[in-house]
Amino acid sequence: MRLAPLLLAAVCAAVYAGEIPLAERRSGYEFMGPQTRAMQDDEATSPALFWLMDGETLWNGGRASCASCHGDARESMKGVATRYPRVVGGKLVNLEQRINACRVERQKAVPYPYESKELLALTAYVGRQSRGLPIALEADAATQRYIDAGRERFERPQGQLNLACAQCHDDNWGKSLAGTPVPQAHPTGYPLYRLEWQSLGSLERRLRNCMIGVRAEPYAYGAPEMVELELYLMWRARGMKLETPAVRP
């Protein structure tokens, strides 16, 4: 029975084979067919277009508009989305929360609800100004513990199916799950138009989908555990180009 501990060690090693090496990282874009990629590339006919148009209107409109402080988003917002989530005022926030904080504090307005058309449009519009730029998150004194917390959530088995994100997305990416390729799960294009939703949606919506998929209790929108996971995922994708707003199946 000397085989048993060896087998056990082999299984454990297989299950937690570890992070994808930086050189092997591939965006979800590469797992799609050429026609779906074309939907993302041709911005004039991308289904995400209307959210971008809305975002531009929201940026420029109203009393105390974003533009009144930040001017032309194409200049002022360039690179911004590549640096979120980040620690602002001692708290880890994602881009949606940062936009809402601005609304409340500077525009004296009511925050947009999560997944509302307005919040998606503004986040997509801001994100679009960083399209093509590398994700610029690095671990530092402020973010290290959040990255570690996020990594721990990524590697912990959860839900009734008792699956960890890492088991599919680190260890079995590229293989098929029910006829669909398993991507590496890099959030390189959020908010994105998901064909399954027939709508633009946020990274948080997608993560909740995944958690429902393994029959786990999904994290609430905006919850600290959710933002930590987002930070870990963005940090894991550091250096990869942002594709916002992407198109995905």
Partner: protein, 106 residues
């Protein structure tokens, strides 16, 4: 007003075949989906699209529930003369959307 996005060149050579890409913002509710409690969600789609060139219809399409949400229609037309291209979408529940674009043909 209902939103659309049209990509058409602003100018062309006489006789050139130009490509026109059109996108309309519409959920295209197909009438086959049900709510959580089992009720049928009624159909609500764009049913017609047409393009006129200086008042003459040059393209028309009939859409059915099997056209995807935010319908894309890409077609071609010959640049015959300078003028205006008018685009019109109509659909269920009184939906109407229009767009016009000027084209300079030399």
């Amino acid at each position: 007003m209902a939103r659309v996005a049209v990509t058409v060149p602003a100018s062309a050579k006489r006789g050139e075949v130009i490509e026109i890409k059109t996108l309309a913002e519409h959920a295209m509710e197909n009438g086959f989906r049900r709510t959580q409690t089992g009720e049928l969600i009624p159909r609500d789609i764009i049913t017609q699209f047409s393009c006129s060139y200086n008042g003459v219809e040059v393209f028309r399409a009939e859409l059915h529930p099997a056209v995807a949400a935010n319908p894309l229609i890409t077609f071609t037309t010959v640049a015959t003369e300078s003028g205006t291209l008018e685009f019109k979408w109509t659909g269920d529940n009184g939906y109407v959307a229009t767009h016009s674009a000027k084209i300079a043909v030399a």
